[in-house]
């Protein structure tokens, strides 16, 4: 098979190259097309995102991008932004960083998106920061609370959206300090930045050493009985959870099984009551009294004008998919992006969009301020506490804002903005 194999190899390589290369226009060398802005025409703005739509990590998250898209469709149906319709390209990366590399390059190099919006996940998105930077692609509102997105000097085009995990940890710990004084506080966190940053926040408020038992979990091991058992053995009364929804439900369920009933203080990431209740099924009453955080309107607050707007959009443009916190999140991202596009003006360029974000001052569904400025690229700067009572998750007390450093946790008292009448932001 000698000679033939090698001829075969050569032919096969050529074929493979040709097949892979097929469909390329191949006319754009570097430097050409300086006048036009990638992804922007007079009638269209193309943006893209990477999300886990399949695979074990897709639970919950797979609903975000469709919600954002639905909001864009709503805006498009109302005339678009400066006459342009928004096309949202959603790429599935299965939460696999290698796939993220591929799909983001496809978005940028092939689909020529104007910006990458709300790319999800810390390990996934970390890998494309440099690529997006060197291609000068705006990298807006990353869907993760890692502090990596807030590096204006290193990554001038990258902006966060979620309050970072340290802020969240501080606010949860502040609640414990004020209302559960003297109780034994313990901590369970995911074994990555999420858990670590959150723990750092908790310890900033309570003081290092104040957390009696610290445990971690990995997503590949669904048995948390050993960790919960350790909390029980140590007599923990308050447990702070920096967990994804699956592991919040698992922890609460496991604790009940062990006859362990602490006060749960749960990160916004894993505190969405509909998601948890659905997963726990008949065991959902275990969530009674759980304290969580959030910074967007509660999805069950039908009196809230934002929820009314988003419900309407969900009905009209999202196939009336089950409405939960992820839907609210996705639409809030869409709303903010439309605000930014409007602020960037009619002659849209990438620089103008970055300037518009840095200008800050956006008022939207959020309960706390967005921190965007030239020196701060982190997203929301606070949270409000919620409690599950009678099977309903509602906010209580004031909203809080703080920073990821040693600043105090302050009440944030400004009244939230109301949505515009037609649900589409206008130039402010």
């Amino acid at each position: 098979m000698h000679r033939k194999a090698h001829r075969g190899l050569a032919i096969a390589s050529t074929l493979a190259l040709l097949i892979t290369a097929a469909g390329c226009s191949g006319d754009d060398g570097p430097g050409s097309g300086g006048a036009s802005v990638p992804g922007v025409t007079d009638t269209e703005i193309v943006v893209g995102t990477h999300m886990p739509l399949t695979g074990p990590a897709s639970a919950g998250y797979s609903k975000i991008a469709p919600a954002t898209k639905a909001y864009f469709d709503y805006v498009n149906a109302n005339g678009g932004v400066h006459g342009r319709k928004i096309t949202y390209k959603i790429m599935d990366d299965g939460y696999n960083p290698a796939n993220t590399q591929q799909v983001v390059r496809q978005l940028v190099l092939q689909d020529k998106v104007f910006a990458v919006l709300n790319g999800l996940g810390t390990p996934t998105h970390t890998g494309v920061l440099d690529f997006l930077k060197s291609n000068r692609v705006p990298d807006l509102f990353v869907a993760s609370g890692s502090r990596s997105w807030d590096q204006p000097d290193k990554y001038p085009g990258t902006f966060g959206f979620n309050p970072d995990y340290t802020v969240e940890g501080k606010i949860l710990a502040n609640y414990a300090k004020a209302n559960l004084a003297g109780q034994k506080v313990c901590f369970l966190g995911q074994d990555d930045d999420f858990g670590r940053d959150s723990l750092a926040g908790v310890e900033k408020v309570l003081g290092a050493g104040a957390v009696a038992v610290k445990q971690t979990y990995v997503t590949s091991n669904t048995n948390v009985a050993p960790q919960i058992g350790a909390f029980k053995a140590a007599g923990c009364q308050v447990v702070v959870l920096a967990t994804v929804p699956g592991f919040t439900a698992l922890s609460v369920g496991t604790a009940a099984r062990l006859g362990f009933k602490p006060q749960w203080l749960v990160s916004n990431v894993g505190a969405d009551h509909p998601t948890l209740a659905k997963q726990l099924g008949a065991a959902a009453p275990l969530l009674e009294g759980m304290v969580g955080t959030n910074y967007l309107p509660m999805q069950n607050d039908t009196a809230n004008p934002w929820i009314q707007l988003f419900t309407k959009v969900n009905k009209e443009h999202n196939g009336d998919a089950p409405f939960d916190g992820n839907t609210v999140y996705g639409m809030s991202v869409g709303y903010l992006f439309v605000q930014v596009l409007l602020a960037a003006g009619k002659d849209l360029t990438r620089e103008k969009v970055l300037d518009a974000v840095q200008k800050g001052g956006y008022q939207g569904p959020g309960l706390v301020p967005l921190r965007f400025s030239a020196t701060d690229h982190s997203g929301y700067g606070g949270q409000r506490l919620s409690r599950v009572s009678g099977g309903v998750q509602t906010y209580f007390g004031p909203a809080y804002e703080t920073d990821e450093a040693d600043g105090a946790v302050n009440e944030y008292t400004a009244t939230p903005a109301a949505p515009p009448a037609n649900g589409v932001p206008t130039v402010s």
Partner: protein
């Protein structure tokens, strides 16, 4: 029977037009392989200028995967050892490159020779790991080997998390890579440079593999696969052969992983999951097991798949409710179905199909001539 087969020249070698047996010594084989590799290299450079950056990047990724699939096809196809853990070997190479490049960058070292050095280190470390796994593997057969290699594949995230001081847990490490050398001009597209680097490394690896396959070692690999007892009777040290095959395979997998890390500029356990190991295996079998060309088809498939999957869903215009369900899932379903149908209809994979086609076409020619 394998021993006799190994001693004879491969059958096709006699099938020259005119039926003249052609004498092929090692030297001429090497030269021919060199010529093929040079031609492929030139072609690659030409292609790198004629296609878009994204295609360049995709081709570079194909090259990186090709390293791994070529190594796996040598192990599984030629030596008959099943590995579900090649993703872990790739991770070994990838993490080594990440640690080396970071160390160089931290010390402010620059220079074109650093990357080859890191890649070399990646190969060395993977060879070490591969030797350990290989020694264990040589004692095991069939599903038992599959079980151990599966456990190896699963252990990667655990190690990354356990030693997160070094590997930074599930989040992984970044891989600092220098921009293309200035001598290529200030606006040299980065993706083209990536293709050159990975293409060169992969072609070199393929050259070595192709020669190995044609050498005495390659014949012993096949002999052991076909019949261990006969191989032993023919004086082949079976266990040593199996370990050697594993080590060779590990070396290429490590290089593949290292190249992937260089392309992605980051490493994390999520990129080297069990799924990757299983996909590698699917790729080499679908491509055509035991053939380097099959490995190439497999690598193309690995890269083209996510791309194709997306195009499939984009082609359809669906209501949001339906689209939300199909997005991502429909392509996987199609891929799964294709996999099943291909395995039932064409167990030789893509390359087997092409060979059959080629033979059918070639078969006509000599009869016409005579």
């Amino acid at each position: 029977m394998s021993a006799t087969r190994a001693a004879l020249p491969p059958k096709e070698q006699l099938d020259e037009p005119g039926g003249r047996p052609v004498d092929r010594r090692g030297g001429s084989t090497l030269l021919r392989h060199l010529a093929v590799v040079l031609a492929a290299g030139l072609l690659l450079v030409a292609v790198s200028y004629s296609v878009e950056p994204f295609r360049n990047f995709q081709l570079a990724t194909v090259a990186a995967y090709l390293c791994a699939t070529a190594g796996l096809t040598v192990l599984t196809g030629l030596n008959g050892q099943l590995s579900l853990g090649h993703g872990a070997l790739m991770a070994t190479g990838a993490y080594t490159v990440a640690l080396c490049q970071t160390a160089f960058a931290d010390r402010g070292m620059t220079g074109g020779w650093l990357l080859p050095l890191s890649l070399g280190a990646a190969i060395v470390s993977t060879v070490a790991v591969g030797a350990v796994v290989g020694v264990a593997a040589a004692r095991l057969r069939g599903p038992y080997l599959a079980g151990v290699t599966l456990a190896v594949a699963v252990v990667v995230p655990a190690l990354a998390v356990t030693f997160d001081g070094v590997f930074n847990g599930e989040q992984g490490l970044s891989v600092p890579v220098e921009p293309p050398p200035l001598s290529l001009g200030p606006y040299f597209p980065y993706e083209r440079w990536q293709l050159w680097v990975t293409g060169a490394a992969t072609l070199l690896a393929l050259l070595l593999l192709a020669n190995l396959i044609r050498s005495r070692y390659g014949r012993t690999f096949r002999a052991v696969r076909d019949d261990e007892v006969a191989a032993r009777l023919a004086g082949i040290h079976v266990a040593r052969t199996q370990v050697l095959a594993f080590v060779v395979s590990a070396a290429t997998a490590g290089l593949g992983g290292a190249l992937l890390a260089v392309l992605a500029q980051s490493v994390s356990p999520g990129a080297f999951s069990l799924t990757l190991s299983l996909f590698l295996l699917m790729a080499v079998v679908i491509g055509g097991l035991g053939r380097l060309t099959g490995a190439l088809w497999g690598a193309v498939l690995l890269v083209a798949l996510p791309d194709l999957t997306h195009s499939v869903t984009e082609m359809l215009t669906l209501s949001p409710a339906v689209a939300q369900r199909l997005e991502g899932n429909l392509p996987l379903a199609i891929f799964g179905l294709t996999l099943i149908v291909v395995m039932i209809a064409a167990p030789g994979g893509v390359q087997g199909l092409l060979s059959r086609l080629g033979r059918a076409l070639l078969a006509r020619r000599p009869t016409r001539r005579s």
